[in-house]
Symmetry: none
Subunit: 202 residues, 4 copies
């Protein structure tokens, strides 16, 4: 009777290790040895579970995206059917502080965004993640616009703007936390989003 595989658990540990080290040292500081150490594993084991270092980063991207989508799903329940409330929930899921806040994930995401410039495979998953975000926001924006002016024109570029504001808020939170008054990011981005839609609708 072979021992039950613990691969899934080990992979999760390793991804968590990368998240931790990337949050403080960036991707350059994330050596296999430091990841392994942070995960409490031997360094050889990392390569047993992942073909190479990049593979861990790709898994981390998935992990972060999943984390945030879960937050959104969780908030959706309280938001009800109103598209504006849903858009606020969406922004909140990305930016609000709270018990489920993940400052490490924010820093890691900023790093992922920079690595996307460098590693084509990371670029692919990063762009896919961004595209999904834009699509989600576009759907919400489209609903809001159609309710107001009967058509959804401009929803796509509004969505891009809103996602940009979210990404920029991450960037500031991670690298220049003094720039944005603490805990206000979600509110400010919500106002920008709604103000933008007002402008588009006008």
């Amino acid at each position: 009777m072979p021992r039950p595989s613990n691969t899934a658990e080990r992979r999760a540990q390793i991804i968590e290790g990368l998240l931790n080290v990337i949050a403080e040292g960036g991707y350059e500081g994330a050596t296999i040895a430091s990841i392994a150490k942070s995960a409490g594993l031997g360094s050889g084991l990392v390569h047993y579970h992942f073909a190479n270092k990049q593979a861990i980063l790709l898994a981390l991207v998935e992990r972060i995206v999943g984390l945030i989508e879960a937050r959104y799903a969780h908030r959706l329940g309280a938001a009800g059917e109103d598209p504006s409330a849903r858009l606020r929930a969406y922004i909140d899921a990305h930016l609000a502080l709270g018990d489920d806040a993940e400052p490490r994930a924010v820093a890691a995401w900023v790093v992922v965004g920079a690595e996307a410039l460098r590693q084509p495979e990371v670029g692919v998953v990063y762009r896919a993640a961004v595209a999904r975000r834009v699509a989600t926001v576009e759907a919400l924006a489209g609903e809001i616009l159609r309710a107001r002016v009967g058509h959804g024109r401009g929803a796509k570029e509004a969505a891009a703007g809103i996602v940009a504001a979210i990404e920029g808020a991450y960037q500031l939170a991670a690298a220049a936390p003094d720039a944005m008054p603490r805990g206000r990011a979600a509110r400010v981005v919500e106002r920008m989003a709604l103000g933008l839609l007002d402008g588009v609708a006008a």
Copy 2:
């Protein structure tokens, strides 16, 4: 009769070299050898003019900041005294395409933002640059708000939001260019900015 010093020129060449390689390969990809090659210089000379690799990056930050501030100064003339026009000019200077567009600088800036997480000295100059941007925008936002509602409350956090939107637009432009319809970023951010100020003023 010594050879006339060309230090300033060489330093500029090297900074330009870093800008070029960073724009495609990120900071990790920017090896001294690649910088030197891109600048058409020997690798030893790079260290003759800069103490280390980080010093080049710091100089690059200055360079990029100066580039954009010059664009803003240039657009200010056409904007006249109206604060809203000036805010649009500000956003335009950062995001508009045109003859003076610098896609390489955009990518490099994103990389700088990630390196700011890793290298404390880079963090310092990055935060200083962001702080200046926020202060500039805050002044404009304050003027606009005062003209409308007689006070400037909320200008600071509005400014942070606007700067975040700009930074996020850079991020998307560099790493996920398909997300934002080409050439629309300035327009979208302007609308977000003005919509945000409407909201704050309300």
Copy 3:
């Protein structure tokens, strides 16, 4: 089942490699590559077992000190309780030729003495080693003096003189071997030591 650790053995090999190359080429000539080659190892492995080159040198200092102290301990048995005999045994342990002679260690020690000027950490362990030598000789000299004149005044500076003579004999042996008739160093230093104590006692 992990490979059994051979760290201690590897470290010893590397220290031995440094001893070998330092004996001929000095510390400057001792490159990591040459140390690794002399030890029959890959260069990366050297840094796997030692944080940096200096750490190997510090370990080498310990190694040499231990070597000589072991020679002294070994000779102590034959010397019996007589302090003069013990002092001779001490000098012998440092300077006598014989099966346990270590010409490489002598040359390396001279190099260590010069590196002590340059690398603060090396200076620390070098001074500690010298201080222990002086203390040991001082104890012996004190016994001899007290037996003769009832007090041990002057033992400390006599000990310093004796240690200086030993260090100088190393220096000549390593760098100007023709200056001292071969195999006579121990005898000459013993005579200097005893003559010095005669003078101090007078």
Copy 4:
């Protein structure tokens, strides 16, 4: 009328520069740039006056040797014809503190002794200097011994011992100054020397 050559002066400046930097940083720390800076000259000029770095070191050896021989010559006058007084004057010239003390030269000499192991050409001049010292002391010791026992047997090895003690005292002064009570080195070595000759004569 060509301008008068200042080569001799420049060479002296450069040698002085090497002496200064070697006294603090050892030979490794002595870069051409640092030597030039310490001499107040441009780095290119160093190579105009010396073929290479080693040539400066060789000149420095001469310089230090000359310095000490001058001190000896100066003290010889006061010592008169008595060989014991002359031997004391010799040791004094090498080790006594005073207005003409040269702590930098002491440190530099220790470095030279270590470089002698590494650079064959340095070894040659170092050994020549040591041989001259031994020969001088041997002559004095021979005189002393002949006056006492009618022959000079053992003078050579006694001289080597005395020179060793001097070299060792340099080593301690430079690298472990706490080992020898300050200002006592000359006295201690004189006692060792005279005690040694007593022993040889016995």
